[in-house]
Amino acid sequence: MAVLPFYGTGAVFFAVLAVLLFRVAGELTGHHFNPHLLALVHTAALGWGTMVIFGAAYQLLPVICERDLYSVPFAVASYVMLTLGTLLLAWSFWVFEVGALMIIGGSLVVSAALLYTINTSATAALHQHSSVQRAFMVSSALWLLITTIIGLLLAINLRVTFIPRNHLDMLKLHAHAGLAGWFLQLISGVSTKLVPMFLLGKSKREWLLYVALILQNAGLILFLSDGYFNPVTSKMLTYAGIVALGTFAWLIYLADAYRNRLRRKVELLMKHAAVSFACLVVGFVLLPVAYFVADTRWTSLYGTFLFLGWITAIILGKTFKTLPFIVWSNHYRHLTGKVNVPLPKQLYSERLTVYQFYVYLAAFVLLVAGMVTNCTALIRVALIAWIILAALYVVNVAKTIFHKPMMTDGNKTQ
């Protein structure tokens, strides 16, 4: 039950994100150091991405680590702190009130990340066999903690300057610790467990995952250590290349599991994952473009492909591959074999997930087209589609979370 609030709150933040995007449609292709864009990015990264991922991770950690979660109270506390911290941060960025509110928000987010890291590490540590998925889970948690600490220091630095480096360069380190450390490594670890499980596929090339783990971490550590002491220059794209190779190794593993799958028909929800990985590849291609081309819209496109493409697509798909099972298990795990109970897939609307997939594709393509052409009217049309998408998602998540226990003959259980 502890994980349901993460999904519900994540869905609400996604809806808020869609509405805020619409409100600032004209600013989306401008410079990224803009109060509204900072508020949007933190709503997307913390309220949407991290919120849902925390919920899913607390459910999946026991599967990956083959033991119970280390601490449920820690998970609950991390929810409260992440929610309050995100609200304070997003608000203080939106109105650009640099000071106590922003620092308190940042501190709450750091506390949530610390609790998550302790929970993840302690759950993984007590297992006798090592596994690359567990290593990804722990390394991603550590990167989340590092990212949030850098973010908090940057928030303090806005108020009292003490970091002897260019703030915008520091912002790049903060953002990429989050993207290549937290999101990339978490998704790498979880997907290599879930995708083969859902497709009934397997790959014997597990060494690729160790290569991925090493390269993703090596590239990021090199970038952060060089970037802290030196100005961010084009040579640092080499480090992005190392991370890209690590990402490539992970994707080859997934492609191998896909080729060797028993389930030939790929469900629609799994197609979200394919779109997500394609957006990540485009993100890597856009990185040098964003660096070398002065036009700010390429940086915005880079962020769009990562946050609204890669991270959003995987969450939209995986929500309905995890949440219904969690709710079903809460209601029916003691009733199986006693009475007829519905199947997990009957807890949400499959039809809405079909609409969700196609509205998402349309919304994303229109948004990218609007940003490439710098056409605000097209961006606004796209963002209306994003609001419709968020509404579809929220309705389906709510339908699942608030499912009333029913037997198949329609009688309510006690």
Partner: protein, 109 residues
């Protein structure tokens, strides 16, 4: 789960197998017999039924629902016996343990 006709408990085993076919893996939508999750059912102790089974993956979030289902359904079929479910990890379950009927239900090749 194989049943030999010369097994002294063949009738009980058949009843157990039929009952266990009503326990569905909520993730794969196939019954646990056709999934090959049940390794054996032991009736040698007159007071109980011991089921030796596995799950598709250790730490499976649906594991408790499945083992509860086994206990519940066998408790109905054999009300005078105590039901014991032992989950084992050797041999490790793999896709080749799914019966042809199970593969057909899952739309596998």
């Amino acid at each position: 789960m194989e049943i030999k006709l010369n097994d002294p408990f063949a009738a009980e085993l058949l009843k157990a197998q039929t009952a266990l076919m009503q326990v569905i893996d909520p993730e794969l939508y196939v019954n646990i017999i056709d999934l090959g999750l049940v390794y054996g059912v032991d009736f040698s102790d007159a007071a109980r039924v011991k089921v030796t089974m596995t799950l598709s993956t250790p730490g499976c979030p649906m594991g408790e629902a499945i083992t509860n289902g086994v206990e519940n359904i066998l408790g109905v079929v054999f009300p005078k016996r105590e039901i014991e479910v032992e989950v084992v990890w050797e041999p490790r379950w793999n896709y080749h343990m799914i019966t042809d009927a199970g593969k057909a239900q899952m739309g596998l090749e």
